[in-house]
Every structure is written in structure tokens, then in C-alpha cells.
Amino acid sequence: MYAFDIKRPRSVEEAVAALADGEAQALGGGQTLIPTLRQRLADPGTLVSLSGIAELKYVRMEGDVLRIGGGTTHAQVAREAAAHYPALASLAGRIGDPAVRNRGTIGGSLANNDPSACYPAGALGSNATVVTGAREIAADDFFQGLFETALDEGEIVTEVRFPVPEAARYEKFIQPASRFALVAVFVARFAGGVRVAVTGASESGVFRWAEAEAALAADFTPEVVRGLTVQAEGMIGDLHGSAEYRAHLVGVITRRAVEGALA
């Protein structure tokens, strides 16, 4: 770890001000950033901890939209979203282990956009809107490839708005050692259509599987996915699984997700 200063703002306003300095970086739960610092893969002059900002921590329904504060931990979402959006609560409840869930935050997970992370699939699959101090970004525009997002330097995720679908399910095939997703799929059926978001599989991060969405919009049953395949090309091939295996799993896990959504 390189040396750094730490600031503990009490409000979003203070945090934004603190982050205006180009050397500063936001610290959420630190579940990704701290290991990165320890490996000296990042050298921020100042860390701006968001964990002391009460106004970033909430889960509440407004109309038919579930709003989650950018600093809300996975554990809080797992607990408090269950009544409103069970599929999302279930996603949050299966991230990592209790230690990770009690520290890691939704804002940190989305901002990080790890290709094997869970929330990007939840947000993209739900057609969520990512809110920052400055603007609102549709999930379709937010994720821009491996560890890349639409966020500008110093921009903080203050809220994520999830339209609640009629039916949804997050199905996660884990890599057994780390319990990260080897392939995971978030399926959501809305009145206006179906969204299928896949994480863990693609070399360019979370993506929507358009073919499956179209088929499922016409007939929301697992069977319609059976004939569909994704190309192995562009899939991640690594020590935990080949590109071909991941491509195969996308189909199977999508079907399972549809089954789960129907159950």
C-alpha cells in the first residue's frame, strides 16, 4: 500500500467537494479497493470514505420504483429489499460472505463493474437508473466494458432506482473457491418486455442477451431459450472454465433463471 490521506465527509456535498481534487478517490466498503491498494495497483493521494454519510444508506419504495442509496451495504439490501423486490434481495444476499456483505456497497459494486460481479446484472436486468449528484444514467448506458462505467472522475453513485418487475430471478453458477459468479444471469419480466442480463461470462463485462429477451418476450418459458446459443468467441476463458463452457452455461443458467422467476 502507498501512503494516503483519508477524509470522512458527513454529507454528499462534502464528499463531492473532497473528490474535486483529482488525486482523491471514493471509498465505499473497501472490499475491492482495499485489496487493490494492498497490491499497489492504485495510488490515490486521498481516500474519501462514504461510509459515514447517513443519507446514502437506505432502501425504500416510492411508487413502483425501489430506491437504494449508493452507500447501502449488500446485507442491508438483502434484508430490506426482500419485501419489495425479492429477486434483488436474493442477489445481494448471495454476494461473497457475511463480512463482504456487511461492508461492500451497491455503489462500489456498480462503480467497479467487475466482469464477474452480481449487481451489474441486477441493474442492467432491471433497467435500473444510476443516479449521481449530477445526473441520471440508464443502466444501458452505464456499463461500458471491463471495469469501465459512464461515471466521470469524482462522480459518486448516490442512488440506484430499480423499477420492480412482475417476475424476476438471479441465477448464479459459482466458481466454488471464491464463490464469485462463473456465469450468472438476471432475468426480469416487465409489462413491456423481458430483460436478460449476463455477468461472469463475457470479456467485455455484463451484457444483455437480446435473442433470449426477444424469445422470452413472446413466450416467457424456459423452453424458448433451449434452441438459443451464444458464441464462445468473446467469452472469458480462464483457469476456472473455458470460453465454450461459459457460453454453454449462459443458456442453461438463463433457463434456470426463467424457471425460478416462474416459480
Binding site: F173, P176, A177, L239, H240, S242, Y245, V252, I253
Partner: protein, 804 residues
Amino acid sequence: MSVGRPIPHDAAVLHVTGTARYVDDIPAPHDTLHLCFGLSDTACGEIVAMDLAAVRSAPGVVAVLAAEDLPNSADTSPSAHDEPLLATGRVHHMGQPLFLAIANSHLAARKAVRRASVEIREEPAILSIDDALAADSRFEEGPRFYRKGDANRAIAAAPHRLEGRIEIGGQEHFYLEGQAALALPQEGGDMVVHTSSQHPTEIQHKVADALGLPMAAVRVEVRRMGGGFGGKESQANALAVACAVAARVTGRPCRMRYDRDDDMVITGKRHDFRIDYRAGYDDDGRIRGIEFRQFARCGWSQDLSLPVADRAMLHADNAYLLDDVTIESHRLKTNTQSATAFRGFGGPQGMVGIERVMDEIAHALGCDPVKVRRANYYADAAPGDAAPAPAPLDDGRDAPADTHADLTSRGTTETRGQPAPPPSGAQTTPYHMAVEDFVLGEMTERLVESADYRGRREQVRAWNAGNEILKRGLALTPVKFGISFTLTHLNQAGALVHVYQDGSVHLNHGGTEMGQGLFRKVSQVAAHRFGVPLERIRITATDTGKVPNTSATAASSGSDLNGMAVKAACDTIRDRIARLIAERHQARAADVRFGGDRVHVGGESYGWEEAVRLAYENRVSLSATGFYKTPKLEWDRIAGRGRPFFYFAQGVAATEVVIDTLTGENRILRTDILHDCGASLNPAVDMGQIEGGFVQGAGWLTTEELVWTDKGRLATHAPSTYKIPACSDRPRVSNVSLWDGRNREDTIYRSKAVGEPPLMLAISVLMALSDACAACGPHYPALDAPATPERVLAAVRRAREGAR
């Protein structure tokens, strides 16, 4: 009666309360220094430049040593002298220690080594079995052969033939306590070393050699290890030698422990194997002739690879009588970690080979695999069949003059005279040893009944007929594992027992405790000999100053050897006390009995303490050593002939699994085990070894996958990428029972060794997975290990579509 009782592990309470002391918990003097190796980031090449100035100037660093700075050329190999402590000119694997930082704290040492600037001219590395074969990179001059009959002719003449290949992955030991050592310099240059090692005498020898001292100037102590599994036989040498050398150079105590990632990257693992087979068989599935070609990836140094590969050959028959057989073994040298001992020591790999063949024959004939296995079993020993009289041992051999040779290492190779041929008409192994104690026929019959194998075979069939996606599989596999070190002279042990004036007993022997319960078993033997409660027996750390020239606690031999040595020592003292008491009562010493914490003679008795006090006052020595050597062993490893084993430990397991044919995910549903511990010294400890061994074996064959990059970097060097079984991975239903036999050989209370054999019960998991895959289509699935979901899925495809 303390022998045969299910008494908990002596340190169980200490373990679960966190008060058991491991090497790194030992309080050390305030000026103790901490060590860390700088490692090679290249698998193969020449060291062009190594600039350690920045390491030397790092905060907290006291000294930095490279190979040329060592007082003597320090070697850490178990026997072949091919493992310099620090690289000399060339590097042979990624993770090889290049230099040693000595600092005020563990963290300072770790930070310092990162500052090195090392330039290595990279050369193409030999990583895979194919690479090694192409380059003819191997240990020994060529392959080894064991032969019986004429395999080639028998295969040609057989009604059916098959041939195939199985790839079997390696395994990381993943002892919970990592490697650790602490060296305390003494006056006059002597050294005391605390180490987490299964082989204190080897540590003593290597440290003495590295310091240029006689062995008598080095004392090594091991209280316990937090798991060893073979990974602390030769692999503990480097840390102990490094600490001792650093202590010599600095004059201060030195300690070292590997961080987990370093541990995984530096130390050797179970050998991965490829086994090619060709078999001829008849309509009943009986093998007429068979050939195995075993390829072992040994890594960069010889380590214990020769005896490991030997043991793979020695278990290529497992439980099956093979009349015409050839086993060919290639020991390949690669630029990877030096593969080493791991529970089973090559036996498991050899056994997987023939179990695969049994499975494939049953598949080809469309008959039940248990039937095929039974058709090939050795014949059971007739009940009450007396063991032949022990052969005389030739003790008059000349000792080799080479003082550098570590005679107590399993890596030492010896050639011996002509072993006597087996009795004519005896059923023999492929290495011409008579099999006289086979009980698997009856054990299998018992397990088939108790596990309801036939009924469940029908249930599995019905399930598979009615389910497209989830398929079940069932398999029953036997284990016949040879007990003894194959290097005959290692089959000896010593003990030291003191009885103090107050009646308390200090017990010491050459075996080490690594959680397996050896100390508990041996203390039961001591309590039993003296007829006193266990509480009187004080178990003490293994110490080369108390019992010298010990063998590694390995080859499952710990209780067999040390139990006997302790018995001998106790009996010496007991007989002295008996003589004294007998004299006082004009009785015969043989009529004095020890039991119930008393010493009985005629109608009278003395309390134990009183008897001991009397002995002391009458100037009777209350201290004795004990010694034991295993009888009957004769082995010529080059010819592949003789009797390398005293007896066979046996077991049988039936496992049911379920697979998801869409993803290859799988679970163990149920396991039934019947295992032979002879007359168990401690059924609770033995059950623990059986369950633990099974789960560890299941991990090896299913989830534990080692992956190296194409540059030779071990990509799976932490638990975040390498999956060992957890509690939740055990079978949901597990029925373990002990076979109620006695060892027909004269072992300690007729018990049998239990350390390694149960690991191989897990081969039933691999075969059950194969059975489930086979339920998906007409072709043989040829499932490799570890059977990860991806491999299972590929096997399902092969079953459906045939080999690609």
C-alpha cells in the same frame, strides 16, 4: 484397559480452544529475526544479474543472503543433493527461492524481498508431460518395469481388448498450519531447531550438513503439526535450514513461516499422472493380460519421486490378481514445483488406473462393475490361516561411507540382494509378493448387504430412466494398500520411557503428531503395558535428542512402528518392577500382573505409586529405551521383486452421486464405508482418519484443480482459486464402520495402519460420477480427474456422442 477404547485425541481440547502450541506460537527471545525468501518469477533460465542492494537497505533488514553468501553449500533435498537452498546460477521453477532476507519482523522481511532487481535470461520451460517426453527429460535413465507373465501375449489371446488413457491431477496439501521453523543458536555453535516437520531426523541431518556440524550438535524438536499429509516430509527442510544458517550468520534466533501464497508456489504437491492402459479380458470381465504405462510429473528436483512412482506401480493391481502384467513407469522432470509425498504416496494414482479399467470393462460388457471387480479379486485368506514364520533379517550389511547421505530419507535408493521367491502356488502381486491376508471378498459381501447395493442399483436405474437432467451414479471400489516403507531399513523405530518417583510416566518416541492421533494411540499402549490410567502418561514432543535416527512419520507406519517401540520400552521397565516384586514374595516374575493401577502378585497387590517407589528405593532403573524393526521385509526395487510390505490394509466404499447433465455440477449423496483397521487401537481416532481421508480424497478427485499458466506460473495459489472440500461438501449420508478383524501379522495389538489407506476409498466417488455420466448415452465417458463440472459435462457429451 486403555487399548481399543474410543478415547478423544489428547490435544482435542487444546485444538478447539486455540491453546495448542504450534511452531509459530512458541515464544521466542526478544532479538529473534524473521526470514523471507525472494522467489524466481521465471520457470526456467539463467540468472544474469541479481542486485540486492535495495533489499539490504530496506527498513528492518539485518542481512541478505544469496547462494554465494552461505557458509556451506546448503542443500535441502531429501537425498539427491539437487536442491540448493538458494538458486545457484539457474532457476528451475517459478517460485524457486533465490535469496533470503533476514529482518526484524516478518512483514519487514516480506516487504524487503520485493525490492530486489533480478534479471533472468528466460529459456523455454518444460512444463507438461508431453513437453518432458519430447525432451526426454526424466529422472533415472529410463522407464522402470515390473513384469509378471507375458502381458502382450495374454492380451493378444484374450476374447476382448480395450485401451485408453486417464489423466489424474495433482493436489495441494493445504495443511492448515503452513510451513514454519524456529532456530535457536546455542553455545559452541550448536543449534536447536523447532520445526513443523514429519521428519525431525532429516531436518537434523540437513541442518547439520548446512552448518558443517555433526548431527550430535543439532537438536530438533517437533511438538505437533497443524496437518502434514506428506507435505512436511521433505518440504520442511528449506525453512529449517534457512533459519539455522541465518542464526549462524547473525548469531540471533531466527524464525520463518511461509505466507500461504508463497507456500503454494514454493512447495511440492501430489504428482499428477497420466496412465495409459491396454487390457485383454474375457466374457466374465476377468483380466487376462494388462499393460500400464504410468507417467508422473515430478517437477524440477528428484525429491521423493522415485519411491512415489514405485508405489504407484506397487498399487497398479489394487485388489486384483493379474497373471500377465507389465507396469511401465516414467518419472518426468519438469520446470514446476518438485512434486513430493502426499497421503498415499503414489498409491492412489496407481489405484485409479486399474479402477478405471474395471469400470471400462464393466461398461463394455454391460454388466455390473461389482461383478467384474469380484471376478478379478485376489482370493480371500482362509480363516485362521497362520502367517508363515518371519524370515531372518540380514543385519550385517555395511553402512555406506558417504556422510552427506541422508540414510533416513525415503528418497534414498538402495539395492539389495536377492529376495526369496514367494511360496509356490501362492497368489502373487505383479511384484511377486504372496498375498496372504486378503479379506476384501468377505468385506465386499458385507458392504454390498449393509449398503443395499443391489437395491440401490435398481433405484438408480429407475431414477435415471425417469429423469433427463439429473442422473445418478453408484460405484463400489476396494482398497488394498501395502503397509511399510518400501525402503526396507526405514522400518525401524525407537522410544524412550521414564517412570518418575511419583509414578508419572514420561513418554517419548520417534513419531510426530500431525493431528492424526498417533500420540493418543501410543499413550494408550503405554498405559496398557503398565496397567495404569491414561492420566499417568505424559506425552512429550518428538525430540532428536531423546530418540535418534528416526524415520519420517509417513507411509501410515506411525502407530505400527512407534507403538511397538514404546511397548518394548515399557515392558523393559515393567519386567524390572515385576522381578523386584516377585523376589519380595518368592513368586515368579511372570506371575506378577499389572492392571487397575496396581501391581498384583499372588493374593496381594501394591498401588502403582507404591510399586514405583519401592523400585526406586531398591535402585531399579526406571528408564528404558525401546526399539522395533518390522520383520519379513525383503525388496529389490529395480527388479520389482520381493516383499516390500508387511501386510495390506484394506477397505471398501460404495458411493452414490448425482450430476446435473446440463452443467456438470455434482454432489455426493451417500457413502458407505467398511474399513479394516485390524483390531483398532482407538476406534474414534480411526473413524476420524477414515472420514477425513475419504473427504480429502474426494477433494482430490473432484474440486481440487491445480492450474499452471503456459509460462509455468501456478495460477491456483490461494483458497480463492483452489477449492478444497469444506464441511458442506461431505456426503449427506455417511455410514462408516470398522471391519471386525485382527491383523494376522503380529502388529501392535493386532491393529492395522490407517493414515493413508482411507484416502483411496474416495476413488468410489470418481467411479460413481463416471457411472452417472455413462447413464447419459451408449459410449464410455472416460472421465478424467479432477472431475470438475466442466469435465463431467464433457464426459456426458462423450457418453452421448462418443469420443470426439
